[in-house]
Assembly symmetry: D2
Homo-oligomer: 230 residues x 4
């Protein structure tokens, strides 16, 4: 798998949008990502992955969850090979709304490697992040549950402490910081503080103009990258 190009950006509309509305946001992200020298991820509900993958070229289409099972009797389950077949190239795991048993996280990360999906693994605390770091995710998102959806970005000390402790265990992991990102300025700031990538949900989907906000944020990533951000 190709290395992820830093500082990356994650558009994560969760389940706020689907169908045509989600496709339109994906098309705007695709246009904004064109020609950039960093990667833009775009997450989609399972039913929308195929259409978004077929209609975009510059995005790493990302599933919001998966399981470790294989093709077969699994009725209503999320099989890694299906996601890949639909066009996904990355997957979120252990998100606060889909937290995994450790034994399943281990197996699901192995399956992701097997089928060639980048893994973005979430942690609710630094202790959890350190345990996950041992398992070699591509991206580690350390975001305490009680900060999700809040309007303030993590304090600098928290950002740097997280990065330092994770890198001490496994320097290959990219550390993402996404709490409280509301504007392009937040994006710029958090990357300059050391985040190797960032992303956003409600700051985009609840903006007056989601597509404009998404462009503002992607432009801020570019600016931070040029200014020497990771």
């Amino acid at each position: 798998m190709k290395p992820i190009r830093k500082p990356f950006f994650m558009v994560n509309p969760k389940s706020y949008l689907c169908g045509k509305n989600l496709l339109n946001l994906a098309l705007a992200a695709d246009a904004a990502a064109m020609g950039k020298d960093f990667d833009v991820f775009f997450t989609a509900p399972f039913v929308d992955i195929t259409r978004i993958a077929e209609n975009t070229q510059n995005l790493i289409v990302t599933a919001q969850h998966m399981e470790s099972i294989k093709m077969g009797r699994g009725m209503g389950h999320i099989v890694p090979e299906m996601l890949v077949g639909a066009g996904a190239r990355a997957v979120f795991l252990n998100h606060a709304e889909n937290s995994l048993k450790l034994v399943d996280l281990v197996q699901t990360m192995e399956r992701a490697k097997e089928v060639g999906l980048y893994t973005i693994v979430c942690a609710d605390s630094i202790a959890e992040a350190k345990a996950i770091a041992v398992l070699n995710p591509d991206i580690l998102l350390c975001e305490p549950t009680d900060l999700i959806g809040k309007a303030t970005i993590s304090p600098t000390s928290y950002i740097q402490q997280t990065i330092q402790q994770i890198k001490a265990i496994n320097p290959d992991i990219l550390v993402m910081q996404a709490a409280g990102i509301r504007t392009g300025e937040d994006v710029y700031h958090v990357i300059m503080e050391g985040a190797e990538g960032t992303g956003c949900t409600s700051g985009i989907v609840c903006a007056d103009n989601p597509q404009a906000m998404l462009r503002e944020m992607i432009d801020a990533v570019e600016k931070a990258g040029k200014a020497g951000g990771k």
Copy 2:
């Protein structure tokens, strides 16, 4: 919602197939269902619902599971409105591989009604089937877990006892019998025994020629219907 036309047939490929292979099976089902005076359901993994719904006209495209949550923060969850938007018209609930808490089953069935999805609800025993009957599913599938995938159809006594006990509680429910269906003959037999609908997974996907087997079964439904089966 329109009444389901009996005796119905359920093509349930579970997670044995996806992508192009699944689409091809759906196209064959769609052709076989054309002009029939009974309903043919076709279940699909979440990632395949949109494409199958867009490319078929005579099938009730059916999701294999869903949750009761609403559009919003649900990351990696299955929101009813998304399924409808993708083209699903029915949903399986409480399948043995996705068995639900009773409180969630109640809420998810209410949500199905709200968004206009037919519900096919599974029971593992007659006791469970009777409890579910009180909740007014459209179709009730009573199939003991240890018979799933087995090569024998349920004994006549079991079929008739199930139907009688469920109808005594709620005569509006359609009772489906699907254990051990391997051939068109099995389909014909189970409908003549009183099943208001039947269906198949491994008998189709593991057949030498799945599309031919599917046609054989749908033809058998028609023949049974004409011969006076429910």
Copy 3:
């Protein structure tokens, strides 16, 4: 099993108390229940069942949850035979904090019958209560989750509607009403409204004098019973 004597009372300290404090409350309940012609249930955390059963004579000691498994490899699980061996004579099932899969509820209720435990089964809505009624619990507690711990008792209309709908399905079930019970007066009132039993958690454990409040409530049950309450 002997019929439960109405109107029954349920002391349910949940996990607010344990060890010596819980034993003292149980001893007070035991004294208050002596000579009464109705049943008093007393729930206890698993670690406390043995000691409370050994030191009381007039209480139906009640486990707060159990599973359907049998003696054997179950590590850290709650086996019905263990509860009986420890002295429990009843068990709560499907409480809002331990809501069960329908398939497990069915099996666990069968196990309770097998080992001779009375079942108190909880429902979060009338729809759920009706489904449970089909499964023949001894006592059905219909208490919407959002009312638990609230300071108002259910409106009369709700109480009577619940009772009527449950009895229409299965007249043998005792219907318990426990939302918002804070004083002896509440106990008296809810029984006079038609509840066949009631009970209390926070009204007792958070009272200035829990033992006195418990006695007040048990006296109110007696008074209501004599006044013609169910």
Copy 4:
């Protein structure tokens, strides 16, 4: 907390025994452990912890599972403070039959530290063991699920590889090996291979004379310890 004295031994009857039979086994273990210079753990179902703790002096009475919640509304849940109050001094976590979400494992281990319980944490694979090692359990038991209850002990290479990889991450952790222990000879062998502790379930509870087998095993621990085993 006092350091655990090596090589320790874990009597783990799971749910094979309860009540008087379990107490008798505990009394035999207590007698065998008297005067030894290594620690003997004895696990018990929740309902039996109090009685075993009250009647033994030389055992570390061990709960088979717990949760991270606090005293309060938890109905039917396992609160750490309750276990301590009942006399438990250690707790198993993440056993194959009670595998935990990573986020819960982190919080439950913190709670164990808070209340002063030793933690014995299970792993199903070396990858999982390494992630757990970062979280500082007192004892780490690495036992692939498919070996539990099997009649062969782990190969020497597996034992030494496990120990080495876990100690590389965290040398303070005691590494326990328990797969396939059937006799005193197995106990001696696995300790001489480098296990810092071992234990047994079915080898004891299914023995013709469980108490004699338990004594044989504890004697083997002593012999191995004197012979220079860890």
